[in-house]
């Protein structure tokens, strides 16, 4: 899980200059702070889909899943577990 959080955290820092400038933690709000907007979410979705081999539906693109690095890591972890469970 920590590795997953770190991977997402590293991507956010690398991709979004505002995140780099502010030095975000795993618990910082990425949406309210304006670090992520719709375009940023699209990049993040592509990143998690490609990096973790999962597919996100439109219904899953909810604020609660993308609010923080920690939230996204938990969501991705649950998604990976459910995919593995269904195999």
């Amino acid at each position: 899980m920590n590795s997953l959080q770190e991977q997402i955290h590293d991507f956010v820092l690398e991709k979004f200059p505002q995140a780099r400038k502010r030095g975000i933690s795993f618990q910082d709000d990425l949406l309210k702070s304006g670090i992520l907007d719709s375009l940023g979410i699209l990049d993040l979705v592509t990143f998690v889909e490609q990096s973790f081999g999962i597919t996100l539906s439109d219904d899953e693109l909810l604020p609660e899943n993308f609010q923080t690095v920690e939230h996204l890591a938990t969501f991705v972890q649950n998604k990976i577990s459910s995919v593995n469970h269904n195999l």
Binding site: L31, L39, L42, E60, Q67
Partner: protein, 347 residues
């Protein structure tokens, strides 16, 4: 800014509701002002949503369960479009906005899908000139034909560019003066003789504009119909913009018109229309250039779709392509058959 740990807080669900423009006006205004920064809220709302000659706008709101707060808005505004010479009602998308904490793509997709479902009923045509954020939604849902609107610019003055590169003021001023004069002479030499007399028009658009619109046979397959009712609403009735209208006439005969708007000292052509032979357009462009130069504008801009046949004429008289921005078209399969200008979107 730290939040409860993931999975520990109760998630808030939201649903898309069709807005009742009369009953929900104050809620919509609040959201538009807060998330979109819409100024002159009530005046703008009445003009844009209620006074359009082709009917009321339709709007949707994203509302959380058990609350009256509006988390987001999306709307479509009716347009009379001409498709292969026949009138058809279409829509332009606009006023899309979301509360920052809800910009996670999913809520935006939900909201935009409601708009698109309504706009595409039957065989209606519609279009959008989306922001970067909005474009993310279109990319995700993979709908519509994406094309580009390119800004063409004709340089008129060199002052800003020279002063940026040459901080020594007296020298910058002298070089700018020479450069400006060269640009002016370049335009004079490129000017073609014309039988059209171009002047500004201050009053309302009259029935000769309907005749011009109805008599037009154009190469563009789809365009916004420019009836006098539409033109009066769009350009004369606007709550805070006062564009300049230029008309080209030969005696009493109207050959075309051009509309100029100014923002932060820079002038742009936001609409142009001429009779089928297009002979009035060069004269209108020359008059617009002179007016922009007199107003001190650094350049004259004109944005149009990348494949519009007018781009050839623009290049001939010294306009050059600059940056582009996205346009999304619906209900059509031929991307280069549309004619859209900045004036075709007013939201």
């Amino acid at each position: 800014m730290a939040l409860p740990a993931a999975g520990q807080e109760k998630s808030v669900r939201a649903e898309v509701q069709c807005a009742d423009l009369a009953k929900d006006k104050s809620r919509l205004l609040l959201a538009l002002e807060e998330y979109l920064g819409a100024t002159e809220g009530a005046k703008r709302f009445d003009w844009l949503y209620l006074e359009n000659p082709y009917g009321w706008a339709k709007a949707w709101m994203l509302v959380p369960e058990g609350s009256r707060e509006v988390l987001g808005v999306a709307a479509i505004f009716p347009r009379l479009l001409l498709k292969a010479g026949k009138n058809t009602v279409g829509y332009v998308f606009g006023d899309f906005c979301l509360k920052p904490s809800w910009r996670s793509l999913g809520p935006g997709i939900q909201l935009q899908k409601a708009c698109m479902l309504s706009a595409s009923s039957g065989e209606a045509l519609s279009y959008d000139m989306p922001s970067a954020g909005m474009l993310a939604i279109y990319k995700r849902i993979r709908q519509g034909i994406a094309t580009e609107m390119v800004r063409y610019a004709r340089p008129l003055r060199m002052n800003r560019k020279v002063s940026e590169r040459l901080p020594f003021l007296p020298a910058a001023e002298a070089i700018s003066s020479v450069g400006n004069e060269l640009l002016r002479w370049k335009d004079i030499l490129a000017e073609k003789r014309s039988n059209w007399a171009v002047s500004t028009m201050d009053g309302p658009f009259g029935k000769e504009f309907d005749e011009l619109n109805e008599g037009l046979v154009e190469d563009a397959e789809v365009r916004v119909a420019r009836s006098s009712a539409y033109l009066n609403w769009r350009f004369r009735g606007h709550p805070y913009r006062r564009p300049v209208v230029l008309v080209a006439k030969n005696g009493a005969k109207l050959g075309g018109f051009l509309i100029l708007d100014q923002e932060q000292g820079q002038m742009s052509i936001i609409d142009v229309q001429s009779a089928t032979d297009r002979s009035a357009i060069p004269a209108l462009l020359e008059a617009a250039t002179k007016l922009a130069r007199r107003a001190g504008s650094e350049s004259l801009s004109f944005s149009l779709l990348k494949n519009d046949s007018l781009t050839v004429l623009l290049r001939e008289i010294g306009f050059r392509p600059r940056e582009s921005r996205p346009v999304v078209l619906f209900g059509t399969s031929v991307e280069n058959a549309w004619r859209l200008f900045d004036g075709d979107r007013e939201s």
